[in-house]
Symmetry: C2
């Protein structure tokens, strides 16, 4: 048993991470590649980043010791439905010297497993977009939102950015001077916080500046809202509260009121000590007072744990989780 190694990969839009772990929790190696989301980068490019990360994690490890592996990535279902994409991943796996099979799971499941060993629960993710998923027996079951910026992603980074601009436009319509958040948004989009003598001119320039970009670029303004909220600006605090309510509402579409199963928060806006994470925790306490709320952590280690669970020598998956996956809040 001490010879057995498991490998986990967390393939994200900006980086790919790999971990090689023994079943006693010894981390034999870590690897890193560039962004490898097959939906946005193509399966070939994703497979190349996967191989880079795998080689990093397996440097100095005999690949014959690896008995199981899991890859977590966004658009997993689409990859599995595409024979060419699947073949590219198979090739990368073999090129790394691995002969064991591997499983592919959605990034939401891996985020969930990075926060808890419980077989059933909810994962709520807010980054550029937003999605909630119910996990049942460590499989993604029902999903809420994730509908994209035009129709959904309520409470996401896109949503926060768009609402920050809308708040500023309303101030300009009223002829009010923009507050600190509005000034930050003006500076980010127009290079200066100055308002034209006719505020409508600034309105027109702002609308043009935003519509020249892809809509999803509005997510780049989300950190301005977070910073302003940390500084206590009421407008930003209010937007954060609204975003948290939207995220909790999305989760409530698939999670029964009062459910006690854990909730894992993931995505750039909910991991770490952010005001949105705090506001979502408060919403969760209100709706699901008996549920532990965790933060997503090491996705590669969680993927390795998902791989290890099915090995015959693993009799206590929860104990193994404690060994393999670093604890988060």
């Amino acid at each position: 048993m001490s010879d057995t190694v498991v490998v986990g990969l967390d393939v994200g839009g900006t980086s790919t991470r790999a971990a090689a772990l023994t079943l006693t929790g010894e981390r034999l190696g870590s690897g890193r590649g560039g962004g490898g989301n097959p939906t946005s980068h193509g399966a070939e490019r994703a497979a190349a980043e996967l191989l880079t990360a795998l080689r990093g994690a397996l440097a100095g490890v005999d690949p014959a010791r690896v008995r199981a592996g899991t890859i977590g990535l966004a658009g997993a279902a689409r990859l599995l439905a595409d024979p060419a994409g699947r073949a590219a991943f198979d090739r990368a796996w073999a090129q790394a010297g691995l002969r064991c099979p591997y499983a592919v799971h959605g990034d939401a499941l891996v985020a969930y497993a990075s926060g808890t060993a419980a077989a059933d629960g909810t994962v709520l993710i807010a980054g550029t977009g937003a999605i909630a998923a119910q996990v049942r027996d460590l499989r993604l079951d029902r999903v809420a939102d994730g509908h994209g910026w035009l129709l959904g992603d309520a409470g996401s980074g896109f949503w926060l950015g768009r609402e920050a601009v809308r708040h500023l436009l309303a101030d300009l319509d009223r002829g009010s001077a923009p507050g600190p958040l509005g000034a930050r948004v003006l500076t980010e989009l127009l290079g200066s916080a100055e308002v034209a003598p006719r505020p409508r001119d600034t309105v027109d320039t702002l609308v043009q500046a935003v519509t020249r970009q892809a809509p999803v670029e509005l997510a780049r303004l989300a950190p301005l809202v977070v910073t302003a909220a940390v500084e206590g600006e009421p407008a930003a605090v209010d937007l954060i509260g609204q975003a948290a309510a939207h995220l909790a509402e999305s989760a409530s579409r698939i999670r029964p009121a009062g459910a006690a199963a854990p909730i894992v928060l993931g995505g750039g806006l909910l991991t770490g000590d952010t005001p949105l994470a705090a506001a979502v925790r408060a919403e969760a306490r209100r709706r699901w007072p008996d549920a532990p709320v965790r933060t997503a952590g090491d996705g590669a280690a969680a993927a390795a744990w998902l791989a290890a669970r099915d090995l015959p020598e693993v009799t206590d998956p929860a104990a193994l989780h404690a060994l393999l996956v670093p604890a988060t809040a």
Copy 2:
């Protein structure tokens, strides 16, 4: 004075209307052309439709009798700033045989003047988009919203259509059967009200169907909301109420609380006996109990009145309005 004729034009996105009127209110002619918004159709095409409508209105009228004219159109400021566009309009005016000068005003001002003769007031327009404007001395003064579908147009046809889809997606997320409005939206977008055995498949198909079109096409769903609201479906009635609140909020950005000056409702969603018009009237009564709320009417006649007002023989513009512009609610 009885010899004097004034000409008015209302240039819209789907049609152009012209009216030739005497100062005693006799309608000498009416003309109609195709859509002529210079922003969307180009100034040359807009000028051609203008000429068609003008010729219709002036058939059998000696053009030398025409002493003044006004053209109301969306994007008036942009046309006036464009020498080539202005020249195309000048040419059409001359080709119709007119030698008097003409004024160009925004369509919002013409919509306002089609509902009231008061020099000061508010116009609130909801069609595909939504905008509110304060009128001061019969000029457009401050403007609220009109920010476009990505950042604004709250309460517009686009907004109603998008919210109808969002409501349906939330029902599908919950695993609830869509209500009558959701069924209408499904049928309109997917050709059938049937939901797949896995509702998430219907969610994905819906999101794809919407994102394949231009976002503004969502406005085509607004009539479904209006019809469902007329039939009393709670979800539709609720969306109509929210839209009305958004529209009133936009107006309140530029109109003082309790102001008594008239409010004119314009645009396809607010003219006629629609549930949104009724809901906006209720919002207006609550915020501005002393203000008369009127409905926009004959834009071409209102444009003719705006032209006539400045003639030296016109001493009572309000009395002239009563003669020239058909009364609305």
